[in-house]
Symmetry: C2
Subunit: 433 residues, 2 copies
């Protein structure tokens, strides 16, 4: 990068897709990245900005003036423009917006900024092609040509009444195959899927995936057409959601990736490890408490890692299935019937595993009583772990809390402690001490 002349470099980069340039910039140092961005024209750089890694974009934006950012934002669709502006500190947001020259664009961005994060409103763009039911096909084609200039991709054409109320849709295909003098009112398709502006974004993703939609119009409570959401934003959303759930299941709190700094990674990982530490200390206290009772059955202590591991594994498995079922909306039936099914399942798994454990202890230690006590405890621990793994995410979901936090370290730790407690308690009962 350094050595080349500006013009050569510019020509070279003009050949690339903006997503590729963004990838290259992610690799450069900040100074170089800003140099390249200032070199290219704002139509390309604005697209590059949307594709940059978040950390790097933040730094680049810091090094651009309000005016420069406003110019970039001006080139973008409203939804991408809002994403960029939202990453700026509060006080800069206002200043950048004021610098936007296109009044319409400015108003639209201001409107989009008012919608709450995580709703359809925050995902949608104002750019869309709409036609009034009273227009003719020929008039329509003329107007669409003008509107389409501003819209990167035409998915559907939305048909509205003169009060801007959404009443249907048209595809370009319909328009092309219709006769010029026909009225839109006669040819539009009244069957149109839509979402309201305060719908949750995950819900929007479900609707679009279910009906294989590539764009969906967004309306207010009076069905007034406000904007549209396109599938590329949904693809990004799905990827983010999947990553978030995966990280939560692995015990990582914040959104980090492998290239983040050690400090950031520590912040994301340490809280769950602390939870594990407290769980481990809990297990220690339990084991110490049972120390006296089992003077003659020391062997029991050597199985605590096994018991803890099984309780943790079963808990994670059952909670993962519930979390996934909730995400796909296919957890049906009552909580009780779920718990009953999990109980049967855990009992079956537990009996099979306990049988092998019994054989192992019996053969190697020759103590039938101990073997029996350990095996029965294992079955009980597995059943309880399965029930907790099933119940906790269902309970959290009912309370409106993301059930994904129930998988991973949270379930593992609580099941560890409870499993060990139950294990010693049952063993004590069976061995009659």
């Amino acid at each position: 990068v350094e050595g080349q002349k500006n013009k050569d470099l510019k020509e070279l980069l003009d050949e690339f897709h903006y997503a590729d340039i963004a990838e290259i910039l992610d690799e450069l140092n900040l100074e170089q990245a800003i140099y390249v961005i200032k070199l290219l024209d704002s139509e390309t750089t604005s697209d590059i900005l949307t594709e940059l890694d978040e950390d790097i974009r933040e730094k680049v934006l810091k090094n651009l003036s309000d005016k420069e950012i406003a110019e970039e934002v001006e080139e973008l669709d409203t939804d991408d423009a809002v994403d960029i502006i939202q990453e700026l500190p509060e006080e800069r947001q206002q200043e950048v917006i004021e610098q936007i020259e296109d009044e319409e664009h400015k108003e639209e961005i201001k409107e989009l900024l008012t919608y709450e994060d995580g709703t359809a409103g925050a995902l949608m763009a104002k750019e869309l092609v709409k036609v009034y039911e009273t227009w003719t096909v020929a008039g329509c084609l003329r107007k669409i040509r003008a509107q389409a200039e501003e819209v990167t991709r035409v998915h559907s054409i939305y048909v509205v009444t003169k009060e801007e109320k959404l009443i249907g849709r048209l595809s370009l295909k319909n328009l092309i195959t219709a006769k010029n003098e026909q009225k839109i009112a006669d040819i539009y398709i009244s069957n149109v899927d839509y979402v309201t502006v305060d719908e949750e974004d995950e819900e929007v993703a479900k609707v679009m995936a279910k009906y294989d939609l590539e764009a969906i119009p967004v309306v207010d409570e009076n069905k007034k057409l406000l904007g549209r959401i396109t599938i590329d934003d949904i693809v990004d959303l799905l990827k983010e959601e999947a990553e978030k759930d995966y990280q939560l299941a692995a015990g990582i709190t914040q959104d980090v990736d492998s290239d983040d700094s050690i400090l950031e990674l520590t912040r994301a990982r340490l809280p769950w490890l602390f939870l594990g530490l407290i769980g481990g200390i809990g297990a220690f206290i339990i084991m110490e408490g049972f120390q006296e009772s089992f003077n003659h059955y020391k062997v029991l202590f050597f199985f605590t890692p096994l018991i803890a591991a099984m309780a943790g594994n079963v808990g994670v498995q059952s909670s993962a299935i519930i979390v996934q079922g909730l995400a796909n909306d296919d957890v049906k039936g009552s909580i009780n019937s779920r718990l009953f099914k999990e109980m049967l399942l855990a009992a079956l798994n537990g009996l099979i595993l306990a049988f092998f454990l019994f054989l192992f202890v019996w053969v190697t230690k020759g103590e039938v009583n101990t073997a029996f006590a350990i095996s029965v405890s294992l079955v009980a621990v597995i059943i309880v772990a399965g029930l907790i793994g099933t119940f906790v995410p269902l309970f959290l979901d009912k309370r409106g809390i993301d059930p994904a936090i129930a998988t991973g370290p949270f379930i593992t730790t609580s099941n560890d402690i409870l499993g060990i407690l139950l294990y010693f308690w049952i063993a004590k009962l069976i061995l009659g001490i």
Copy 2:
């Protein structure tokens, strides 16, 4: 369902979207589902079939004749048709294909069946709109009207040479805004993204997500246009991949959901639990081996669940970050530099946690030596667990094995055993026994 008259029912269902009918059928028993399917016309039922739950679809297909399936398949786009046919037993596939009346559709389906699962070829559909570079805009619009009848949604129009070689694309927008007498050769966009037919499907998803594409053409090694892949298939693919990774991380081998039978769920869950059982027995053997050495330091045994839990958690965290980085293609740099970074990270986390553990043991037990031994071991265990968690997925990935199997029970179990072994070994060294 039972009580209603056929006609009423049919009218009622005609109002619904096929994806909704599929959801209703998923809830009915088999007999009722087949009854409804036979009631509706094949255009709707074929779409319903593609949306049905896999298990139920299998049963429904068993109850339809070859002829009936062929009729359903005839109504579908080639990619969906192939999906249905592939679910049939080998011998029935041939028979159903022979019953397809439309020769072109039949040949296309046969071609698609030859592509390997997991490649672009297996994802693509033959339906697309293509124009030859020599055509004029007016001629083009005429031909497109005819081709578009067969294609559910027109995304892009692909421009080919007379040898069928892909050379560019056109949007309907371009066509509408161009003059009638212009040649396609003069107005097409030569900059077109494409994938080859043997590209991996995950790679296709990455390309489409990166460039925000809604459809991508598929070509052979000579750039001959073979088909196209649409974003709705990619959305399904992304969801499946995310679910698979999530389930693997939770220790669930097969693709199951919460409504599957207890036997299916057992088959998916038991293998990992067995692994846990073997790990637990390993831990037992280690602890028994150290039994004699620690007669005076019994307290050490009570910390094994803590050590195992920490080793497991750290391993899962570090492997999850690597697995996710690999999936997003942003794991850069050598394995050694990764391991070095993880070592620093784990050491930092380990020191912080060990400090608190030291305080706890020191204050409650009053034994500085024991507290020191346990804390130092904890740091070592965390570092080793982090290194293993980082190394194993990188190693698997290099070998072409899905690194996702490295997270979850696999890493947890191996880290449990290794952690406990290391713990006793270091403690023994420090306490000088």
